[in-house]
Amino acid sequence: MIRISKKNAKAAIKVTNLTKKFDKLTAVNGISFEVEEGEIFAFLGPNGAGKSTTIKMLTTLLLPTSGEIVINGFDPLTQQDNVRASFGIVFQDPSLDDELTSYENMEFHGVLYKVEKNLRRKRTEELLKIVDLWDRKDDLIKTFSGGMRRRLEIARGLLHHPRIFFLDEPTLGLDPQTRNQMWNYVKELNKKEKITVFFTTHYMEEADRVAERIAVIDYGKIIAQGTSAQLKQQTQTSTLEDAFLSLTGHAIREEEASVQEGMRMRRAMWRGTRR
């Protein structure tokens, strides 16, 4: 497929000198990048490199320390609701209400995003059928497996027809079948509806297969950007995994677990984990 010249395409995401400092730690350090409309863009980096912090800033959950962000032409600082209405997101951690059914979770989302009732019901049915959950629509989420939850989160994130779809490690803990199915669907969606896809992952073959362009972030800085082929060429390696390791080094990173993660772990162990 021949891509239209990058210069002419409109940017869906434009980030300039974005920085986020926590007390003494600089999680994101002056990064700049652009994602054009209709592109599938992978954001890669080791644990604690600043991926999730960046996504949080792009999606209005966290205020940047400095720098500029433009999402679909809107500023997340001053035009929060315009930004919010224009993207969908699948978070790294679960974000469904366990005590509600899948249909109710969809309803809740649709109402929050002001999708008109008939349209909401129609799309909910469509989407739940696509992710194979229509026959489980009246079951409580707490009876769902990790894969089912993920599929529902994807369906939910698309309910309001977003222009950008953020996926923060969407395939973590999923089996190859579910992963494959999920990416096929996302790619099709990208092709058909021209939805811009921005995702992070730890599976390099996934990024290689799906992403049109890749940025590698480490220690809060973007250290390389380009197509998978360009990154391999730049590092003189044959696989993206090797390119990644060559760029970020072989040392294992320890990410400090937040209180939340600790609590979740304990709860998961207590209930018998499903994910």
Binding site: R84, S95, D97, E99, H109, L112, Y113, L140, V259, Q260
Partner: protein
């Protein structure tokens, strides 16, 4: 409006689905009513206080609402921990309507809990003095519920985890309950207890409820309503300010 409604509905659905929680939360009020009511009843009567169950019931109803209200407010911490808060915070709706929807939902649950305790009290022999009074009692139940749910939400906006939870129970909920005149008449209490109680929001709730259900009051209905209403507005304002500052 729809945002507030859907958040309210969500809270209610969750409540109605956790029947075990409803039953468990009635254990304490039942214990207070039965053990204190029947245990201290004869002494209270001998001292000229009248029927202790009648005196105690409004206090125990308030206690049920206080506990449930604070807890449903604090449930926000669970939403933060188990991820659902993110889903609401990335949505294109005002932070104020999210906070209002949650608080109204929690307050409705707490008020329902109060009504259930009232029914429980009727079962063990409590009799309100007039039917009109019961209508006023509902107003007070909702005010108490609204205030304490807003307080719970405000606290939860600042707390990151459940570690501080025990602290809240020991240093907030229990003193609020014991120092509210729920268990003993304020008229004859020593001066220092009375003064402390006058600074306790729940005191006005208990007093208003007692006035509504029993026709006896320490402060009078207008003052009770005024204090509770003003405090509720303040708690909501503080709660929505803190809520709007939440970053994930």
């Amino acid at each position: 409006m729809k945002t507030i409604y859907i958040l309210w509905l969500r809270q209610l659905k969750r409540y109605l689905r956790s029947r075990s929680r409803i039953v468990a939360s009635l254990g304490q009020p039942a214990l207070f009513l039965i053990v204190l009511g029947f245990g201290l009843g004869p002494i209270f009567k001998k001292a000229g206080g009248g029927n202790y169950i009648d005196f105690l019931a409004p206090g125990v109803i308030s206690q049920g609402i206080l506990f449930t209200g604070i807890f449903t407010g604090i449930e926000l911490i669970w939403d933060r921990q188990f991820g659902f808060l993110k889903e609401t915070l990335v949505a294109p709706v005002s932070r104020f309507s999210i906070m209002m929807g949650r608080t109204l939902g929690g307050a409705t649950i707490a008020a329902i809990q109060g009504v259930i305790v009232l029914v429980l009290a009727l079962l063990v022999g409590f009799r309100p003095y007039s039917f009109a009074g019961v209508v006023w009692a509902f107003v007070f139940m909702f005010l108490i519920a609204f205030f304490f749910t807003a307080v719970g939400t405000a606290i939860a906006s600042k707390l990151e985890d459940m570690q501080g939870f025990q602290l809240i129970i020991n240093f907030l909920i229990l003193p609020t309950f014991f120092l509210s005149g729920a268990l003993f008449p304020l008229n004859q209490a020593p001066k220092f207890l009375l003064v402390i109680s006058e600074f306790n929001p729940l005191t006005y709730g208990v007093d208003g409820l007692r006035e509504s259900l029993m026709g006896t009051s320490h402060f009078g209905l207008p003052l009770d309503i005024a204090v509770l209403a003003i405090l509720t507005v303040i708690a909501l304002a503080v709660g929505s300010y803190l809520f709007s500052k939440i970053q994930l």
